[in-house]
């Protein structure tokens, strides 16, 4: 998809604690054939470590896009979102909330915390693949992403 000659992969940070969803995501991304470099954090604290280059994530790249689950161990997805959006530089990174919940309260809360969009994980496999595909189409090809260094 990336047409520039010095093709750099698109960096995605996926914050997801459920290994089943993680594998599904890998399957879905695999079908999309995009040039993506995926970093995975399995809880909120690890997500912040990636973003702050801490712990075992010293050399991880700053992501172009963050896919964030809400219900996470240790640091909750809402806290992660609040922290990112309060940070002078990190707040530029688009955060796509990708969660099981379709509760009105969760949706409002996420947008109040300046989530860039909110998506409920669909149930069927086909729908799941479609949704990941449209996330990719929109955020990785249509949208002009900010440079965050």
């Amino acid at each position: 998809m990336n047409t520039s000659t010095s093709a750099k992969p698109i960096e995605i940070l996926l914050v997801e604690d459920n290994p089943g969803d993680l594998d599904l995501m890998l399957e879905a991304l695999d079908e999309n054939k995009l040039f993506i470099n995926l970093t995975v954090a399995t809880d909120g604290e690890e997500a912040m470590d990636v973003l702050y280059h801490q712990g075992k994530h010293l050399n991880d790249p700053i992501p172009d896009l963050i896919l964030l689950d809400l219900n996470l161990p240790k640091k909750d997805g809402r806290e992660v979102l609040a922290e990112i959006k309060a940070h002078e530089i990190l707040r530029r990174i688009p955060v796509v909330v990708f969660t099981t919940s379709s509760a009105e309260s969760d949706i409002l809360k996420a947008y109040d915390l300046n989530a860039n969009c909110y998506i409920t994980k669909p149930v069927g496999l086909q729908q799941f693949l479609e949704v990941v595909k449209s996330i990719n189409n929109f955020w990785l090809t249509v949208v002009k992403l900010p440079r965050v260094d």
């Binding site: 459920n18 089943g20 969803d21 599904l24 399957e27 099981t100 919940s101 379709s102 509760a103 009105e104 994980k121 149930v123 069927g124 496999l125 086909q126 799941f128």
Partner: protein, 256 residues
């Protein structure tokens, strides 16, 4: 004499206290129940998604290597997961009636029906149905929930149609301090033995093959009507159509 009055007062105070306690207990258990339904249905979605998605993925990736029987088993598992998902969604919708209800305000029922007919226009034209209504009043209600109520009743009338094209009529009448609304159809009707059961959650009178659905529609109708302080019932005979009645508070204005 004075002593008797004093004793009466003490007793009354005690009785008042007791009533207050019972009300507090009831509303607490009610809130807990609503919260339970809400949280349970959200937390249940996650594992269910795993079952459904991985069954489908199994079929997608390994269909060629599996025999016919294995593929049939996968179909059953996916079907079960899909149905459970529908029931959880239904449970969520049901619990939302209590949690996300808006305060009652004067609502023009005619406007409500116009919205419902707009929402159902494709179903109505596909069924070749005729829907008519007489003069309708203003009632004290939650507009969104009234739309849901009428929509469920009319959609049911269309779904359970007889041999002729469906004909649905909506009428209102003043009964004491309430509006009594009637939604009548010429559909297949219901055996009177089941007239109460149909308002219970997930109760179905037909096989899913004949009439798909979770069996939540009328339970939601009942919950909405009861939230408005009204009652809902049906008068029907098998093969003779049905009339669903429900009552709504008038809110002072009694002109139709």
């Amino acid at each position: 004499m004075l002593l008797t009055i004093a004793r009466d007062l003490t007793e009354r105070r005690r009785a008042d206290e007791q009533i207050k306690h019972v009300i507090a207990d009831l509303s607490r258990s009610n809130e807990e129940l609503q919260l339970f339904a809400y949280i349970a249905s959200h937390d249940l979605q996650e594992p269910l998604r795993m079952v459904a998605n991985y069954m489908e993925l199994l079929a997608r990736r390994y269909q060629e290597q599996l025999d016919e029987r294995a593929n049939k088993y996968i179909t059953y598992a996916v079907d079960g997961a899909t149905r459970m998902q529908e029931m959880i969604e239904a449970l969520l919708t049901y619990s939302r009636v209590g949690i996300q209800g808006k305060p009652l305000e004067p609502v023009e029922l005619e406007k409500v029906l116009e919205a419902v007919l707009q929402n159902l226009r494709i179903t109505i034209s596909e069924a070749n149905a005729e829907i008519t209504f007489g003069a309708l009043p203003v009632a004290m209600a939650d507009r969104g929930q009234l739309i849901q109520l009428f929509q469920n009743l009319i959609a049911n009338a269309l779904k359970f149609h007889g041999e002729e094209a469906p004909n649905v009529h909506i009428a209102a009448e003043l009964e004491g301090a309430e509006w009594q609304i009637a939604v009548s159809d010429n559909g297949i009707g219901i055996d009177t033995r089941h007239a109460e059961r149909i308002f219970v959650m997930f109760q179905r009178l037909h096989s899913r093959r004949d009439y798909p659905g979770t069996g939540i529609g009328l339970a939601i109708c009942k919950k909405i009507v009861e939230r408005h302080g009204g009652r809902i019932w049906v008068e029907t005979r098998s093969g003779k159509g049905s009339t669903f009645y429900f009552t709504l508070p008038t809110g002072g204005d009694k002109t139709v």
